[in-house]
Symmetry: C2
Subunit: 177 residues, 2 copies
């Protein structure tokens, strides 16, 4: 089955966005070096991206489509991908393991899982193999959480941590199976 | 006013204990070097400890009283500190800022704030000056959270991060006022 990777930034209190998906707090964070904090390198190593509807709609607001890898959007409400993005993105349905089986058949073996609800649904099935969390030194107080309550404990192995000049701390964990 | 310091370990999903305050997941974490992860050094730098009733009752279960610094217990239900600990601990009442004023009058200037509810009540008033969070590479799924929803954002400055051989990542933040 395909490997699933999460690569995400959170506040110290574990939020990936403010309510309504607002990311300004993250984008406005001082970054004098213009670093992408390793994101481009991470993207080069994956075969496809799976995200939920809300993340997809957020990305649609960007000035330009940011991904060079195929994107799969999990949604029960979207009927069609906008025509201009038909080559970049497609809808996908099913449970997390069904989605992974389908992607594996298409030789997409390394999958970037993005978006709060999508990450949570894959974590609930213990399907996340690599977890990179970048901690931003702010307490937001409220927002969209990375983690929600689950009924199983999941142990990870810490592989490495990088500290950026602006105080971001990026830790890379591998599932300890 | 006194400075408030938090020094705590959390799971990746932000829990400081399992439900009921259970800490076995933390104590059983591999620690071949027998490191205290800097705790003793941290304690040497503080003047007093403020904790809630639940943390106090947890510490009472330990084989021996672990603190050499004066402990103040915030409680509305405990009437008396057990006689054998009268020299080590005392009850204290009031709102966080009232407590800090009282401690400052006693020349206790550097206060270790411990316990979920107590930390949360001091954070809600933006009274935490230093925050050391050690991330344990496990998702617990449920338990006692370090953070709860608050109505203000609080920015911190990252000072340093230490990575331990067993995968614990300790980040030290200072309030950015």
């Amino acid at each position: 089955m395909s490997r699933c990777l999460v690569y995400i930034a959170t506040s110290l209190d574990g939020y990936i966005a403010k309510k309504g998906g607002e990311l300004g707090w993250l984008e406005q964070f001082p970054n004098p070096d213009g670093s992408d904090f390793g994101f481009e390198k991470f993207i080069q190593g994956i075969d496809a991206i799976v995200m939920g509807r809300k993340t997809f709609e957020k990305v649609l607001e960007f000035e330009r489509w940011p991904y060079k890898k195929p994107v799969f959007v999990i949604s029960t409400t979207i009927k069609n991908i906008p025509k201009k993005l038909e080559k970049q993105a497609e809808l996908i349905h099913g449970k997390p393991n069904e989605i992974l089986e389908r992607l594996a058949k298409r030789k997409l073996n390394s999958i970037y899982i993005d978006g709060g609800k999508t990450i949570q649904s894959f974590l609930a099935e213990d399907l996340i193999d690599e977890l990179t969390i970048t901690r931003v030194p702010i307490i937001l107080g409220d927002g969209i959480p990375l983690f929600v309550k689950t009924d199983k404990e999941i142990e990870f192995e810490h592989v490495k941590t990088e500290v950026y000049k602006n105080g971001l701390v990026k830790s890379y964990y591998r599932r300890n199976r």
